[in-house]
Amino acid sequence: MERLLDKTKRKSRKKMESRSPTDEELIARFQEGDVYAFEQIVHRYKDRLINFVYNFLGDRIDAEDVVQETFLRVFKKKQLYQSIAKFSTWIYTIAGNLAKTELRRRRRRRILSLTRMGYEDKDYEVPDVYSSPERMVDSDMKEKEIRKEIEALPVKFREVVVLREIQEFSYEEISTILRIPLGTVKSRVNRGRLRLQKRLQHLLD
């Protein structure tokens, strides 16, 4: 009987060791000085965050800069994270705030050029799932148009639409990230969707 119990214990320990650590476990390890845990966090979040910030700012270089700054803040202020909150909402809050600061900075400088506003010069990777070049070009154009319309949304709608529809966060998580009431999140997401539906109708039929 004891042998059986030992075996079960060993198995469960092995399972624990083999599964990848949660974000919260990683940040806890990093708080204790494990820099490798930070590297894992970066690896896990860098692409997710750049997707969020890029769709928010519409500029890849700025987005990459904001994401770097986000990780730098996590590195410097790691002790500010408390395990009562989800790590993902914490890091997205930092990234979202930095992205909004970047937007405000841009507005102040008022040096937005038309090429920067558009997506014409962006070099994001397109997956090779289309067989014919025509389809690829068509799809690429549609995508550019969609991104353009996302960027044209007012900030308050844009941030919730990106978080909900692209990043697939729940309404509750968005409410935590942006620190706004749940009802406001739902209403903003719906209004954002309606605006996009009106502006992109030709792509949706």
Binding site: E39, D47, I50, E64, Y124, V126, V161, I166, L203, L204
Partner: protein
């Protein structure tokens, strides 16, 4: 409110699966009869799909290297700041201590000089009384005799040799001075 408007208001809850059974059935019934609303629903569904399937953007290959470099620079800057603040302390605390010592010495010397002049060093001047509680006023000290029937103000003067004398209009004579002095209370100016 017409059924289409009602439907549009709850379409997102319908898509999110947040409607109760009755309301959901209501919406489904409406969709079967209204082609416009069915089209609207399809458009929203497709929009959500298109947004979800937008090509993911990836960070550049050098992202992690650049980040490491940024963190390294940040930490080095922090260390430099800490080191410079330490060297500042190391350099400035002794200097500050020295200045304080010089100041104390200066104050002490000034104090000594003043005492020297006060205690007769200044030969041409009139020596002030060093008795605690006594006030001097141009070489004259006024006193009040408490146990006289009325307060009588008298004055004494001191000459260059320090000899005391009672002013002439006073009621007290020179010979009684020592006796009276014990009963005098100096008047503070």
């Amino acid at each position: 409110m017409n059924p289409c408007q009602r439907f549009r208001e709850s379409i997102f809850d319908f898509l999110d699966g947040n409607l109760d059974v009755l309301r959901r059935k209501d919406v489904e019934r409406h969709l079967k009869t209204c082609s416009q609303c069915a089209r609207f629903l399809d458009q929203i569904r497709l929009l959500r799909l298109r947004l979800k399937n937008l090509t993911p953007v990836k960070t550049s290959d050098s992202f992690q290297v650049l980040l490491r470099e940024r963190i390294r620079r940040e930490m080095a800057g922090k260390r430099r700041t800490a080191a410079s603040s330490t060297s500042f302390t190391k350099r400035w605390i002794p200097a500050f201590g020295f200045v304080v010592l010089v100041l104390i010495a200066g104050i002490w010397m000034i104090d000594q000089k003043t005492s020297f002049f006060d205690s007769g060093g200044n030969e041409g001047g009139i020596a002030r009384s060093t008795t605690p509680g006594e006030e001097s006023f141009d070489g004259q000290v006024q006193y009040v005799i408490d146990d006289f029937p009325s307060r009588i103000s008298v004055s004494r003067t001191e000459d260059a040799e320090g000899a005391e004398s009672v002013v002439e209009d006073s009621l007290i004579h020179q010979k009684d001075w020592e006796d009276v002095r014990a009963r005098l209370t100096p008047v503070s100016f």
